[in-house]
C-alpha cells in the first residue's frame, strides 16, 4: 500500500532523508523510530503530500503522489505531531469540514462524526470552539477527523503525544482494530514501548538513512542481542551507526 523508492529530501543545509526505500503491506502496522532529527517527520510529511521530495517516488495505494496527489491523499488519514487546527471552528464544524474535503457520504456524516466524537470523549465539547480545547483534546479531534473517511492508510506522527493514559490505551486499541480490518498504518514514534506493542515491522532511521528494518525479533538478531528490549536494540544500532 505504501511504497517509497529512492526517496530523498534535501533542505539545502540538511539532507533530511537520503535515498529511502520502504514498502508497507495492506493491514500492516509499520513503526518508524529514530533519534531526534533523524528524518522521521520529514518522511511522514513527504508521504502525506505536505512537502515535495527532492528526488524519488512515493506510491500510495498505487497512486504516485507527484502525479496523482488528490487520489493518493483521498486514501490517507493524516495525523501530524502537533495539533494545529482552525481555532475558530467548533469540533463538530471541523468534522463536517473534513468530511466535505474527503467526500464522505452526506447521509452518514452526522452519525459517523457523533460516533467518533463520542469514542474520543469529545461529544460534550462538539459545539465549543477549538480554541477552548486542551492540547490532548485537539490531538484526539485530529485522530477522530482522520478516521472519518475510513482511510485505507493511516499515517500518524507521534500518535500519543499529549494524550492521557486512557486515551493512549484507546488509540492503541483503535489502531489494532483498524489493522485487523486491513487498514495500513504507518507510525512514527519516540515511545519504543508503543512500537514494541503495536508494530508488525519496525524501521530504524538515523541521519536520513534507514539503518535497519524488520520485526522486533529480526532486529534483535541483527543487533546480535538475545532477549533484549527494543530500547537496547535501538541504542545498539544507533551506536554502531551502520547500514544493516
Amino acid at each position: 500500500m505504501i511504497e517509497l523508492r529512492e526517496l530523498s529530501k534535501d533542505y539545502g543545509t540538511t539532507l533530511a532523508v537520503n535515498k529511502l526505500n520502504l514498502n508497507v503491506a495492506r493491514g500492516e502496522i509499520y513503526g518508524f523510530i529514530g533519534p531526534n532529527g533523524a528524518g522521521k517527520t520529514t518522511t511522514i510529511r513527504l508521504m502525506g503530500g505536505i512537502i515535495a521530495p527532492t528526488s524519488g517516488k512515493i506510491i500510495i495505494g498505487g497512486f504516485d503522489m507527484a502525479k496523482n496527489p488528490v487520489e493518493a491523499k483521498k486514501m490517507i488519514g493524516f495525523v501530524p505531531d502537533r495539533p494545529f487546527l482552525y481555532e475558530k471552528l467548533t469540533g463538530m464544524e471541523f468534522m463536517r469540514f473534513s468530511a466535505d474535503l474527503y467526500d464522505v457520504k452526506r447521509d452518514i456524516i452526522l452519525q459517523k462524526s457523533k460516533e467518533l466524537l463520542q469514542q474520543f470523549a469529545l461529544w460534550n465539547w462538539a459545539d465549543e470552539l477549538i480554541e477552548a480545547y486542551s492540547h490532548g483534546m485537539k490531538q484526539r479531534l485530529i485522530i477522530a477527523s482522520a478516521l472519518l473517511h475510513d482511510p485505507k492508510i493511516l499515517i500518524v506522527d507521534e500518535p500519543m503525544v499529549g494524550l492521557d493514559p486512557e486515551a493512549v490505551h484507546m488509540v492503541k486499541d483503535i489502531l489494532k482494530e483498524l489493522a485487523a480490518n486491513q487498514t495500513t498504518i504507518f507510525i512514527s514514534t519516540h515511545t519504543l514501548s508503543i512500537a514494541e506493542d503495536l508494530c508488525h515491522r519496525i524501521g530504524l532511521i538515523h541521519r536520513g538513512t534507514l539503518l535497519a528494518e524488520g520485526s522486533l525479533d529480526e532486529l534483535k538478531r541483527v543487533a546480535k542481542l538475545g532477549e533484549a528490549r527494543l530500547e537496547e536494540v535501538f541504542l545498539t544500532i544507533i551506536k554502531e551507526n551502520t547500514f544493516i
Binding site: 502525506g48 503530500g49 505536505i50 512537502i51 515535495a52 496527489p69 488528490v70 487520489e71 493518493a72 491523499k73 483521498k74 490517507i76 493524516f78 501530524p80 502537533r82 494545529f84 487546527l85 482552525y86 481555532e87 475558530k88 471552528l89 464544524e93 463536517r96 469540514f97 466535505d100 474535503l101 474527503y102 467526500d103 459545539d127 470552539l129 480554541e131 477552548a132
Partner: protein, 564 residues
C-alpha cells in the same frame, strides 16, 4: 536590574540575528524599499509642515496663534495615539505573548517580567511616532529660528511623553486584566477605539468643512479663532509639554525648564507607581488571561435557517473551504473593527460625491463631471487595493500552522488559491461597483462614462484581488503571531506598489481613448480608423494586464506554496 536586562536579551539578540548576512529576510531590496519609503514620508512631512508654518508666519495677528494651536493639537494627537497604542501593545506583551508561560516558569519575579515586557511594549508603541515627530519639530525649530536648547528640550519632551503614555497604558492594563481576561479586553478596546474614530470621522465630515470657503460664514471662523487663545488645562501633561516646547521656541528658559522638569518627574513617578501595582496585580492578571477562551457572543440557537445552503451550488471541497473561511473570518474579533471602518469609509466616500456643489459652479460642468467620473475609477480601485491589502493579502497566511490541513487534503493547491480568490472577489466586486455606480449617479455622468467605469472596475477588481491572493501566497507567513501584519512586510509593500502601478497604467491607457471618444460625442463627430485601432489596442492592453495580474500571480503563488 540585571534580571530585566537578561530578560530583554533574547529580544535584542533576535534583532541582531535578523541582521545577519545569511538571513533571508534581510536583503537589500527590502531595506532599500522600506528605507526609501520612510525617507520619502519623512521629507514629505517636513515639507508640508515647513510650508504650513511659513504660511502661518505670513498671517498677521493669527499666524502665531495658529502655529501654537497646531503644536498643541499635534502633541495632544501624539499623546492619544501613544496611549491607545500602548494599551493594545501592553495587553499583547504583558498577557498574550507566546513566551510568557516560559518566562513565568523561570526563577524571576513577576515584577521583573513586567518591567522587561513593559519596556519592550513602550519601545514598540513609541519609536514610529518619535521618528515621524522629528520633521514636524524640526520645521518648528527652523521657522522660529530656535537655538540648541529647543532641540534638547524637544527630545526630552518626546521621551517623557512616551514614558507617560506607556506608564499610564501599563497601569490601565494592569487594572483591566484583574477584572476581565486580557484577550477579551483587547477585543473590547479595539471595538471602542474604532467606534470613536468612526464618530470622529462622521462629525468632521458632517460639519462640512468645505463651507469654510463660503464668505458668509467667515464671521463664525473669526469667532472660532478667538476661542483658540483659550489656554489648555494646566493639569494635563500634554499642556506641560506644549508649554515647555513653546517656551523653548521663545527662549524663555525658566518656564521651559520648569515644565520639562514637571513632565519628567511625573513620568518617573508614574513608572514607579506602575511597578508598585505590577508587584501586586500583574501575576493575578496573567493567571486570569490563561483561562479558557469564551466566545464574546453566544452562538445563535435558532437553527431554522442555514446560510451554508446558499453555497450548495459550489463543488463540495470548495464549499467546505468557503464555509470554513466565512466562519473563521467573522468569528475573529480582530476583523470586526476593520469591517466597521470600511463601512464608515464607504458611506463617507459616497456622501462626498453627494455634496459636490455641481449646480452652483459658474463653469460648464459636463466636462468636469465626466472627468471626475473617470478619475473616480482610479480612486475606487485604490480604495479596493487598500481593502485587499488588509483582507485578501493576509488570507493565505491566516491559515497559520493549520495549513497542513490544506496540504494533506485531497485538494489541489491551485484550487485552494482560487477558492480564496473568489471568496474575496465577490464581495469586493459588489462593493466596487456600488461605489462607482452610485458616485456616477451623484455626478450625473453620461451613459458612456457609466458603462466605461462599470466595465473598467469589473476588470480591475479581479486583477487587484488576484495580485493580493498570489502575492499573499508567495509571501505567506504561517508562523506569524499576527498574520494580518503580513501586509506591513516586504510582500505587502510590493503588493501595494504593483497594485497602484497597475491601476495607474490602466487609467493612463484608457485616458487618451476615452478623451477622444468623449470629445467626438460632444462635437457629434465620428472617429477615424487610426483612432479606432488606437482605442482597441489601448483597451486590449489594459485587459491583458488585468488578466496577467490574476492568472500569472496566482500561478506563482501556487508554485510558491508547493515548495513551502
Amino acid at each position: 536590574m540585571n534580571t530585566v536586562i537578561s530578560l530583554l536579551k533574547p529580544r535584542v539578540r533576535s534583532g541582531i540575528n535578523g541582521l545577519r548576512k545569511g538571513n533571508k529576510r534581510n536583503n537589500w531590496a527590502r531595506i532599500f524599499m522600506f528605507g526609501g519609503l520612510g525617507i520619502i514620508f519623512w521629507i514629505g512631512t517636513f515639507i508640508i509642515f515647513y510650508r504650513v508654518l511659513s504660511y502661518f508666519q505670513g498671517v498677521q495677528d493669527f499666524g502665531n496663534i495658529l502655529a501654537m494651536k497646531l503644536l498643541s493639537m499635534i502633541i495632544m494627537t501624539f499623546f492619544t495615539l501613544l496611549l491607545f497604542s500602548n494599551i493594545i501593545n501592553c495587553l499583547s506583551h504583558l498577557y498574550l505573548s507566546y513566551d510568557l508561560p516560559l518566562l513565568h516558569s523561570l526563577p524571576v519575579s513577576s515584577k521583573d517580567i513586567f518591567l522587561s515586557k513593559w519596556l519592550g511594549s513602550a519601545f514598540d508603541s513609541s519609536w514610529m511616532i518619535v521618528a515621524f515627530s522629528l520633521p514636524i519639530f524640526l520645521s518648528y525649530g527652523l521657522i522660529y529660528k530656535a537655538n540648541f536648547i529647543y532641540y534638547v528640550i524637544f527630545l526630552m519632551a518626546m521621551i517623557f511623553i512616551c514614558l507617560i503614555a506607556s506608564a499610564l497604558g501599563g497601569i490601565l492594563v494592569l487594572f483591566g486584566a484583574i477584572i476581565l481576561p486580557a484577550g477579551r479586553i483587547r477585543t473590547i478596546l479595539i471595538l471602542l477605539g474604532v467606534i470613536m474614530v468612526m464618530i470622529l470621522i462622521f462629525i468632521l465630515r458632517l460639519t462640512r468643512p468645505e463651507q469654510l470657503v463660503n464668505p458668509d460664514s467667515f464671521a463664525s471662523v473669526v469667532l472660532y479663532l478667538n476661542s483658540m487663545q483659550t489656554p489648555n488645562s494646566p493639569l494635563f501633561p500634554t499642556t506641560w509639554i506644549t508649554d515647555a516646547i513653546k517656551a523653548a521656541l521663545d527662549n524663555e528658559t525658566k518656564t521651559c525648564l520648569f515644565n520639562i522638569a514637571l513632565t519628567g518627574t511625573f513620568a518617573f513617578m508614574l513608572i514607579f507607581i506602575s511597578n508598585m501595582i505590577a508587584q501586586i496585580a500583574y501575576f493575578k492578571g496573567f493567571s486570569k488571561s490563561q483561562t479558557t477562551p469564551r466566545r464574546l457572543f453566544a452562538p445563535l440557537k435558532y437553527k431554522g435557517y442555514n446560510w451554508e445552503s446558499l453555497l450548495n451550488f459550489l463543488p463540495r471541497a470548495s464549499r467546505a473551504f468557503a464555509v470554513k473561511e466565512i466562519r473563521t473570518f467573522f468569528r475573529d474579533s480582530s476583523q470586526w473593527p476593520q469591517l466597521f471602518l470600511m463601512a464608515a469609509l464607504v458611506i463617507i466616500y459616497l456622501y462626498n460625491f453627494s455634496v459636490l456643489p455641481l449646480n452652483n459652479l459658474p463653469i460648464k460642468t459636463i466636462y468636469l463631471q465626466n472627468l471626475f467620473s473617470f478619475l473616480n475609477i482610479g480612486l475606487a480601485a485604490s480604495v479596493l487595493s487598500a481593502i485587499s491589502a488588509r483582507f485578501v493579502f493576509p488570507a493565505v497566511s491566516m491559515e497559520g500552522e493549520a495549513f497542513w490541513i490544506v496540504q494533506a487534503a485531497p485538494v489541489l493547491t491551485k484550487n485552494f488559491l482560487w477558492i480564496k480568490f473568489f471568496l474575496y472577489y465577490i464581495p469586493l466586486i459588489i462593493l466596487a461597483e456600488v461605489l462607482v455606480i452610485f458616485s456616477n449617479l451623484f455626478l450625473q455622468v453620461s451613459p458612456f462614462m457609466m458603462v466605461l467605469s462599470t466595465i473598467t472596475i469589473f476588470c480591475l477588481v479581479p486583477a487587484v484581488v488576484g495580485l493580493a491572493t498570489g502575492l499573499g501566497a508567495i509571501y505567506a507567513d504561517f508562523k506569524s503571531e499576527n498574520p494580518v501584519q503580513a501586509v506591513t512586510g516586504f510582500g505587502g509593500l510590493l503588493f501595494m506598489i504593483l497594485s497602484f502601478s497597475l491601476i495607474a497604467v490602466v487609467i493612463i491607457l484608457e485616458a487618451g481613448p476615452v478623451y477622444s471618444i468623449f470629445m467626438a460625442q460632444l462635437r457629434g463627430q465620428s472617429l477615424s480608423f487610426m483612432h479606432m485601432v488606437w482605442i482597441i489596442c489601448s483597451f486590449g492592453l489594459a485587459l491583458f494586464l488585468c488578466l496577467l495580474a490574476v492568472f500569472y500571480t496566482i500561478h506563482l503563488g501556487e508554485k510558491s506554496l508547493l515548495i513551502k
